[in-house]
Each structure stands twice: as structure tokens, then as C-alpha cells.
Symmetry: C2
Subunit: 457 residues, 2 copies
């Protein structure tokens, strides 16, 4: 007779693994199925020159308390993001170097940031009004959701430089253009992180710490603790059937049975699974309308941190690209020196059509533009275009265009029969981050646990 | 040994069937696979009281020359859409009756249509500038594609009534909200139809004629002419593998081989098939970003055409709903009398959550609002919520939100290796209509024929 699991979890990223961990701790009989030949989902660490670099999610923010606790449990150590020296701001064809906060550039020779800080305050104020578990319950939902970020900044930000910075922020945070993203979704993203500064900042903010050994090890260690037999790799799920009593989960060759399913993959990929009965239309509408962001992550490994010697932090904010944001990515012991940079939004789509060699050349030239010709000669160039990864199809997260949250938002987390939804997009804290993924996994596990308990009573 | 077809066509709607028909005429060995237990795709005819009503596409427009020729070949007869009497315009909470053209209402007691006709002229002028095979090659692509229809009407239409009419037009034509649809996509839609009036009009326009016996018979007759063995119903395609020489097409139980594949289903559904090698990112980005429109089509069958007797045409334009547009749907011999009405866009999502009984009540009350209490008592109420149909997942067509055509438009029609794309969305004339579906099928067939010919040389 086929074994009937209490719950099958689809997806071996942080969300799925945390859901599995929680259910297993309750003594439940679970099985996790991962499509790829590795765990980690949108985190992936690669060893180069005997050091682990991250091609996916990599930072532990100052308020990523869940992630911090998990890292402590698993013995994963962190170290502060390097941040000393002058940063670059390259907006509207102008380039300036500054130390500390961007506000020091206000009314400088190059930039007029009139309205930027008032605008950020307003965004924070509006974001704070949202219910992070139901952003589309805000009284001004239609107004906010029916416009794009670009529309809002056009109408609400005074100076062109300030507008360019908010637009840039959307591009690098959501990995989609301000012309694509609903303003309500943008507010929701900010709301779940806390505020604008927490997203932008290093100290105390989203980019505070990095993990020695890379972030994929968290997933690997969680899987290891689940133990063999609790998971299968190389097992893309093709179909989920459910009736009143049972779920049937089909991979290409094997069919599994369970009482419940937690689907811990992005909405657009969940939409590619066949369901019997078919998904109700609201859920299907959602999966048709939440594309993944577009980002190519690059890591350039140098023989020496030439930028540091010249007083630069390797942090740059640009609306020209191809790199729109970058940071020092050197090892904790400074033995390996590198810069991590992101090609985001529309540029990721354009640069994605070119060859790795072309991208490498453009990235190095971009760094040379900021920090001189030493940037042209690197030891290694690593990159990952997440759009090409069949079982992610983009990063960092799925986003909603105008009208999506308002009309389909309920379907993001609402279970459909015995199927529950996890994944960083479904979180109420730090959507798009490892933190959100972990939270969502526990929340979905709780839902399933509750149902299992009440069915036993 | 497995038979190797010259081409496998996926989808037994008008696009797929026309592609198959063209290839078969060339003496090629083809196989068509349809997921449903019927042909017709987004056309579906249902016999009620011994008369065929259409739950999907139903009109043959004045310039639908391809469709007209096909109907003639297949012996499908048409008759003019009934259009006599006064129409209803219900916009911004006001209701007026008018005969002939909407322009007669200009500066009437109720409506101020200042700017409407200038705006339509401007839309037509801009649309005419587009290349219908590549709308995103227009010099102002970014400007047009980075805004929604709502943004454009807000900035370009003088009176609130005129704006409401253009917004309404987007909703009923594209079956999506003006806040969701890219202005470039809207222009493209209009461009492929010819102009605004051709879409709106009955005489000479998109709603000129109806088909005796319904529209699904076109597909049924095309399939019949293909002959048994040329197609299989109930055969949803799960995977397409291709290498340099051959395609492998997998349904749940059977695997087929062919030299080429024509995928004649909407982009979002094509995105749910598994491909080996996986789709290049640009194509996948597109399939993540072109959701299907939202529409519920309703048909109310009455014992008598009470509206005609009172001088009404049964044509109503409303931004209140639940019916946003309706027409007389009586039989060619007037023996059956009915009204066909559409719940479109956001309202289709909302009303889709309710029961058929609730919708019926609301639709009848809507008609009573316009034509009196006789509308409350019907013989039959038919409806089809296309979003719930697993192998359509919406109607009339897929649309692009802001930025989609510009960044992903090339992937709409560009073959990927041995896989070619058809479907009304890929047409250059009348996208979203039966006309476009037919054209796209022939175009894809030509592409495959050319490749087969050149590989033989």
C-alpha cells in the first residue's frame, strides 16, 4: 500500500525546508520534493578559489531575526558587510562620490534632491498604514494599486534627481521597472521590511551581515537535519490531485500521497503545475499575473581590493548600469576580494540576450568608470541570470503590476482545499528575502498542523 | 518505429486547425492535439431550445475577410446583427437612450463628451503609425508602453464622460481594466483591427454578422475535413522536447515525434508546458507577463423580444455593470429571442466569485434597469466564465501590462528552435478575434512549410 504522508512539501528552498522542519518537529510524517539537484532555491553558493560566493540571496539584515536564529541553531556564522569609504551616486548622467548618507549630496554641485527625503517619509508613512498580511485592505487600495511606481513618483516627487532615486530603488529592490510595479505592491514590499531605510541601509538594514560559507548551507543543513528519506531531489512535481480526503502528488515517474500539500514555490511556477480539480479562477488569475523580477547577479573577483586603497567602499547606486547597485563582496578574512553587482529590471532582460563575455566586459567597464582602470583586470567573473533558471525563472521575487493585489491578492495565501501556499511572496515580513521565506514556511506549517489536529479531534 | 510527423499542432481552436489545414493541403503529415473533448478553443456553441447559441467568439466583422472566406468554403451562413432602435449609454451614474451614433448625445442634458471624438481620432492616428507585426518598433514605444490606458486617458481626454467611454472601451474590448493594460498594447489591439470605429461598430465593424449554427461549427468542420487520425481530442500536451533534428511531444500517456511543432494556444498556457531544453528567458518572461482577459459571457433567452416592441435595440454601453456591453442575440429567423451580455475586466473577477443564481439575478436586474420589468422574467439564463475553463483561463485574449510589449514583444511570434507560435495574440490583423486566430494559423504553417522545404533542398 502506498504510504500516506501527513504533508508533502513542494520546493526545497528556505520556505519549504522550514515548513518541513516545523512539521517534522511535531512528529508528523512529511516528504519534501525539490525539482533541482540541489537545495536552496533562490540561494546558491559556489566555491571559487576555495571560498564560497553567493549567486543568490546573501545578506542577513539587522532585523532578520528569524534568519539570525536559524543561523545560530545551524552554526552558520556571519560577518559585517564592508562599508568603509566613499560611495558612488550616478543618476541622470551625473556622477558624484560621497561618504556616509546620500543626504550629504543634497544641493551639491551635481544633485538637487529636493523632495527626496519628504517623499521617503511619505512612502514610509503610507507603507506603515498597510496590513502586511492583507495590503489590499487599505482604504486607498484602488488609488495605490491602480497606478505604477513611476506614475506615483511622477506626481509626487519634486526634483528629477529625487524621482530617479525612488525609481532606481524600485528597480534594485523589486528587480522590476517602476513602470511595471504597482505602487501598492511597492508599498507592501516596503511595509513588510519595515521602512525604506531598513531596505536601503547596511548598518541595521537589509545588507548588514553576510554569511561565512554562503547562504545555501542553511538549506543544506536544514535538509541534512530532516534526514534522508524525508526529501527527494530531482523531483519536479507535475500534478497535484486532491479530493475530500487525500492529495496525490505526481512527479514524472513516481506518485505520492499525502493528507496535505504545502506548495513553497513562486506563484508563477505554482501555476505551471496541473491541478485536479483545476485551480479556482481567482488563484489562477493570480498565478498569471505575478511574474518574477528580472535580475542578473554578478561577482567580480579581484586580486586585490584596489578600491579600498583609494578610499572607495565599492558601493555604487546607478541608473545607467549595467550594474545598478553593487557592494564589496570580499571574504570575512579579506583574503578574497570581490565586488558583487546587480543588473536589474529592464536592463537584466536586455543584457540577458548578450553573451557572458559581453556582460563581463560591460561590468568591468562600469566599475572602471567609477574606480579607475584597475577594475578592468579581474581574476574571475561569476554571474547568474536567474531568469534562465527553469525552477526560479527570475529573482528576487514575484511582483504585482497595477491592479493585481487588489483583484487577486487574497489568493496569494488562501489555501485551496488541502493545498497551502508558502514562499517569500506570501510572507508578512521581508517579502523577497530569506527572512520572508522562513516565516512563510512556518506559517504554512502551522496552518497544516492546525488542520491535522482538528481532523483528529 | 514511432511515426515522425512533419508537424504536430497543439491546440484545436481556429488557429491550430487552420495551421493543420494548410499543412495538410501541402501533402504534409500532421497531427493535431487538443486538450479538451471538443474543438473550437475560445469558440463554443451550445444548443438550447433547438438553436445554437455562442458562449465564446461569435461575430464576423465587416472586414473579417479571412473568416468570411473560410465560412463560405465550409458552407457556414451568416446574418446581420440586429441593430434597430434606441441604445443605452450609462456612464458616470447617468443613463440616456439614443438612436444611431453616440455622438448624438454630445452636449445633451446628460453627457458632456468634449474631447471624445478628437481623442478617438488621436488614438486612431497613433495606432495607424504602428507596425502590426511589431508594435514595439514604434519610435515612441517606451512612452506608450510604460503607461496604462488609464494614465493616458487621464492625461489626454478632456471630459470625465469622454474618459469613462475610452476606459469602458478598453474594458469591453480587451476584457481588462484600463489600469491594467499598456497603452501601447491598446493601440496595437486597435491597429490590428483597423481603427476604433471598426471595433465599436456593427455595420461594417466587428459586430456586423453572426453565424447560423454558431461559430464552433467552423472548427468542427475544419477538423472533419482534416479527417480522423489527423487529430486527437482529450490530449493535453505536458512536455515538448526538441533537439537539432526532432521534437518529442508528450501527453500523459502517449509520446509523439515530429519535425516541427506549432503551439497554437495562448502564451500563458504555453508557459505551462515543460520544455527541454527550457525556454530561453525572453520567451519565458513573456509567458509570465501576458495574462488572459477576464470575461463572463451571458445569454438571456426570453419568450419574446419585448425590447424591440418598445423601440430598443438591446444594445447598451455601461460602466456600472454587471453587464458592460450587450446586444440582441436573437436567432436569424427571430424565432428565438435573446440578449447577449458581457461582464468584463475587474467585474468579471468579482462576479466570478458569486453563484450562477446571483449572477443571473444581477444580469436580469441590469436589463430591467434599462428596459423595464419584463426583463426580469427569462426563459433561460446561460453563461460561461472563461477564467474557469482550464484550457483557456480567460478570454477574449491575452494582454500586456505596462512594459511587456517593449521588453518581451519579440518573443510573441519568434520561433524557438523547431517550435512555432500561433494563436490570435500573434496575429497582425484582428488580434483577439476569430479572424486573427485564422491568420496566425496560416502564418505559422507558412513558417514551418518554408523550413521543411529548405531542409529538403
Amino acid at each position: 500500500m502506498t504510504e500516506i504522508y501527513d504533508c508533502i512539501i513542494i520546493g526545497g528552498g528556505l520556505a519549504g525546508l522550514n515548513a518541513a522542519t516545523h512539521l517534522k518537529k511535531q512528529g508528523l510524517n512529511i516528504l519534501l520534493l525539490e525539482a533541482r539537484n540541489r537545495f536552496g532555491g533562490r540561494t546558491e553558493s559556489i566555491k571559487v578559489d576555495d571560498y564560497w560566493f553567493d549567486l543568490g540571496g546573501q545578506w542577513m539584515g539587522g532585523t532578520h531575526n528569524y534568519l539570525r536564529a536559524v543561523c545560530e541553531q545551524l552554526g552558520v556564522k556571519s560577518f559585517p558587510q564592508f562599508d568603509e569609504g566613499k560611495h558612488v551616486l550616478e543618476i541622470n548622467g551625473k556622477k558624484a562620490y560621497y561618504a556616509g548618507n546620500i543626504s550629504t549630496l543634497n544641493n551639491s554641485k551635481d544633485y538637487k534632491l529636493d523632495g527626496l527625503f519628504e517623499c521617503i517619509d511619505l512612502i514610509d508613512k503610507l507603507a506603515a498604514e498597510l496590513d502586511p498580511t492583507k495590503p489590499h485592505s487599505h482604504p486607498r487600495t484602488k488609488e495605490f494599486d491602480y497606478q505604477t511606481v513611476d506614475q506615483w513618483t511622477r506626481d509626487n516627487v519634486k526634483s528629477v534627481d529625487a524621482k530617479a532615486i525612488i525609481d532606481w530603488f524600485c528597480r534594485v529592490c523589486v528587480a522590476a521597472e517602476p513602470t511595471e510595479v504597482s505602487f501598492l505592491y511597492f508599498l507592501h514590499f516596503i511595509r513588510t521590511a519595515g521602512n525604506y531605510s531598513l531596505l536601503a541601509d547596511i548598518h541595521g538594514g537589509a545588507q548588514q551581515d553576510r554569511l561565512i560559507g554562503g547562504s545555501q548551507q542553511i538549506s543544506d543543513k536544514m535538509a541534512e537535519r530532516l534526514g534522508r528519506g524525508s526529501y527527494y531531489l530531482n523531483s519536479p512535481v507535475k500534478a497535484i490531485y486532491q479530493d475530500k480526503n487525500i492529495c496525490t502528488v505526481k512527479t514524472e515517474l513516481v506518485t505520492y500521497k499525502s493528507k496535505y500539500v504545502i506548495c513553497a514555490i513562486p506563484p508563477t511556477l505554482a501555476g505551471r503545475i496541473e491541478y485536479r480539480p483545476p485551480m479556482p479562477s481567482q488563484r489562477d488569475e493570480l498565478t498569471q499575473r505575478m511574474p518574477m523580477g528580472s535580475v542578473i547577479k554578478t561577482i567580480v573577483i579581484y586580486d586585490e581590493p584596489f578600491w579600498r586603497k583609494e578610499g572607495y567602499s565599492a558601493e555604487a547606486l546607478s541608473d545607467k548600469g549595467p550594474i545598478f547597485i553593487c557592494y564589496d563582496d570580499s571574504s570575512h578574512d579579506d583574503k578574497k576580494t570581490a565586488i558583487v553587482g546587480f543588473i536589474a529590471g529592464r536592463a537584466a532582460k536586455e543584457w540577458g540576450k548578450k553573451t557572458p563575455e559581453e556582460r563581463k566586459k560591460a561590468v568591468l567597464e562600469c566599475y572602471a568608470r567609477w574606480w579607475g582602470d584597475k577594475a578592468l583586470h579581474c581574476r574571475h567573473y561569476l554571474e547568474k541570470d536567474w531568469k534562465t533558471e527553469e525552477y526560479s525563472r527570475g529573482c528576487y521575487l514575484a511582483y504585482g503590476g497595477p491592479g493585481v493585489l487588489e483583484s487577486c491578492g487574497d489568493a496569494l495565501r488562501q489555501p485551496v482545499g488541502r493545498i497551502h501556499w508558502a514562499g517569500t511572496e506570501t510572507a508578512s515580513k521581508w517579502i523577497g528575502y530569506m527572512e520572508g521565506a522562513l516565516e512563510s514556511g512556518e506559517r504554512a506549517a502551522q496552518e497544516v498542523k492546525q488542520k491535522l489536529l482538528s481532523s483528529k479531534l
